[in-house]
Symmetry: C2
Subunit: 413 residues, 2 copies
């Protein structure tokens, strides 16, 4: 049961000039579901990407990185993405890399471009071979459907344990011209911030040049996909791609001090945040959406450490599931976070507007009924004030329910 | 359902000369269960202890540390332990410290000793005030029961979500004299290695002098309680105490190079390991006992990092619960452990005797049926060979089941 997350209204998903999407049911893992997506970027577009840091990163991640380098060396930009669900093509060794390369070569032949202009992405079960022939057989049908208005279907085509397709769209006016930003993402389990989380694809027609685009992708990821965690498990296949088709009738945004960049970045970041939060709202077994805000830290890393300790604690997460204000578990999580000189007496804990703890213990004004009221909500903010400095961070997470165990005990069957 | 863990046979729990135990039903949290334990050490005994590093450590931990220092300053040794279950007296601020001090003072008055010769220990719910009067009212009854043959009852008196009391006893012969080592422990959730985990008390009549005892406690903890994890949550109340009553008719063991020490240390470590493993076998909701052995690391810290990543992964733990050889999740956990220069191609993964992965992917000889066979067992060894060096570590953990969620969603009710 996703938390306050409805499927996207296709009418609200604005096409991005210069970007087309096509899908098919390739039967990668199971028949009868959209599981193969092709994205085509018109000539002149640019693309930035960040990938997982998992050392067992998937074959498509290795190949996508190599193809991005080959494009850069050739002064070209990737023209196509090929994305399958149902198999992660991770933990598949040299054979997996060959399979990913082959899928790119096949699509390149079909679309009359170079293999290194195709970036592959996969998601699904780890350490099982990619059903390459089924993927290849599906490419013509996916390519035949390429059209700008397929964002909703594209979101469906990359789902695994997701229960709701995730897509969002925004438009802003720059220099008198409407600029569109539309994105999709998938992810529900094996979600923990480390570069980007699972698959996210955002496209804009803004003419962002490469020197601006790649650092922008990283900043956007840090403010969105890198702020979420479901279960602390970093995927082998995480990737976040920002496509700038450049088809809006604007002068290129080619320098980091371009005065149009901040508003555009804010809008892109908002799209990324909505998608990132959608992943948490649809987190495996989620019944609650939890924002963990840690303030008063010496630096951002320290704030992140404490936020992680809270957001990853199974005891804290099961208490949220139970709507049980067993809030001492949050203190225990803060205490174990690893800040050796943390003074427990300086820490303050709030649940939404309710002051829970101070001076090393329960706030004198805290009433169990107040904690109970907030814990019963579907959306809860945990705020921690460490009293050590001015740095802060935010993490979005969900609770740990019976359903999480069921989903992950049954995932392959 | 604990994993291959039976209640201890009282006949097998050898009394330790110089150590007496007394318990009562004090109604700390609920009536009708043993929840207060007093341990008395005869004059001449010594005691070493290690405590949680959680920065929100409980009031009794603060007081126990202070009393140990006061004893050391006075050239004395603690004579009494007072241990309650039902309330952790953690996250209780200055009032909690005063309560812990008061419980020591009351027992000291009753037993005619100094307050700093009493060490307090608590376990149970965090951030709720200690029902001090009920604890104080229970002390005379517990003291009246003090006897050397109450180890089984003592193990029961410190249980919280434990389903099985944990006690073990060994005897070895040193210099022709029988030396006894008997210990108890409690713990089932909020279990993660960091000093000691939850409460463990081991007593021996071996005459271990203080310069030998304290470093010994740390080494034993590192080889036992620090090798277990249930849910990654480090308790606020962890403590491990080793009592050396000194009543065995042996010359004192006063130097670290005493030739009798290695055998004694091995026996004490074995008792501690059995207790530590008992905590995992009775881990909240456990249906499987998992040994994670990481070898070929550059150093022990690196091995521990990888072992933790595997043992703490909810995806790995739910796969064990499901008996599902979805072993790519283990590769993903190794990959996210944070070893930046890990070469995935050098990593080998084994499940008991089954070679699962090598060269970055599935072992060519791996058959799903073999993985399935091992996953169906109640006890499983995961062995990872990193191929980077000679260091290794072991961790013991359990699976993540529906029951874990149920227990922790309902704990306070």
């Amino acid at each position: 049961m996703p938390v306050n997350l409805a499927p996207p209204d296709p009418a609200g998903l604005h096409p991005v000039p210069g970007v087309e999407l096509g899908w098919t049911q390739a039967g990668i893992r199971k028949p009868g579901r959209k599981d193969l997506l092709v994205v085509r970027v018109a000539a002149g577009g640019h693309l930035g990407a960040v990938f997982t840091r998992n050392r067992f990163c998937a074959a498509p991640v290795l190949v996508a990185r190599a193809h991005l380098e080959a494009c850069a060396a050739a002064g070209a930009s990737p023209r196509l993405l090929v994305i399958n669900t149902g198999c992660a093509n991770a933990g598949t060794g040299a054979a997996g890399v060959a399979d990913a390369q082959r899928s790119c070569a096949q699509l390149a032949a079909l679309m009359d471009c170079q293999a290194h202009e195709v970036l592959p992405f996969s998601t699904g079960v780890i350490m099982e071979p990619l059903p390459l022939q089924r993927l290849i057989d599906g490419l013509p049908a996916a390519a035949a459907r390429l059209a700008p208005d397929q964002w909703r279907e594209a979101a469906e085509a990359i789902m695994t344990t997701d229960t709701v397709p995730k897509a969002v769209s925004r438009q802003i006016v720059v220099d008198g011209h409407t600029v569109t930003i539309t994105g999709i993402a998938k992810g529900s389990g094996m979600i923990h911030p480390d570069m980007a989380t699972m698959l996210g694809f955002i496209a804009t027609d803004a003419p962002l040049a490469m020197p601006v685009l790649q650092p922008l992708v990283r900043r956007v990821a840090d403010q969105s996909f890198n702020c979420i965690t479901v279960d602390g498990d970093t995927s082998t296949n995480d990737a976040f791609v920002l496509i700038a088709s450049g088809q809006a009738p604007l002068a290129p945004i080619a320098t980091v001090d371009d005065p149009r960049l901040p508003r555009l970045e804010a809008a892109i970041t908002e799209v990324a945040r909505v998608l990132a939060q959608a992943i948490v709202r649809d987190g495996e077994g989620a019944t609650k959406f939890i924002e963990v805000l840690v303030q008063g830290a010496r630096d951002a890393a320290e704030a992140r450490t404490v936020a992680n300790a809270i957001a990853l604690s199974p005891l804290v997460k099961t208490a949220f599931f139970a709507s049980d204000p067993n809030l001492g578990r949050i203190l225990a999580a803060i205490g174990k976070a690893g800040i050796a000189d943390l003074d427990a007496d300086q820490v303050r804990l709030f649940l939404d507007d309710v002051a829970v703890a101070r001076d090393g213990g329960r706030d004198p004004d805290y009433r169990e009924a107040d904690g109970q009221r907030v814990m019963a909500q579907a959306e809860i903010r945990v705020r921690v004030e460490l009293g050590r400095g001015a740095a802060q961070t935010v993490l979005w997470t969900c609770d740990l329910s019976h359903e999480y165990v069921s989903i992950n005990a049954d995932y392959r069957s």
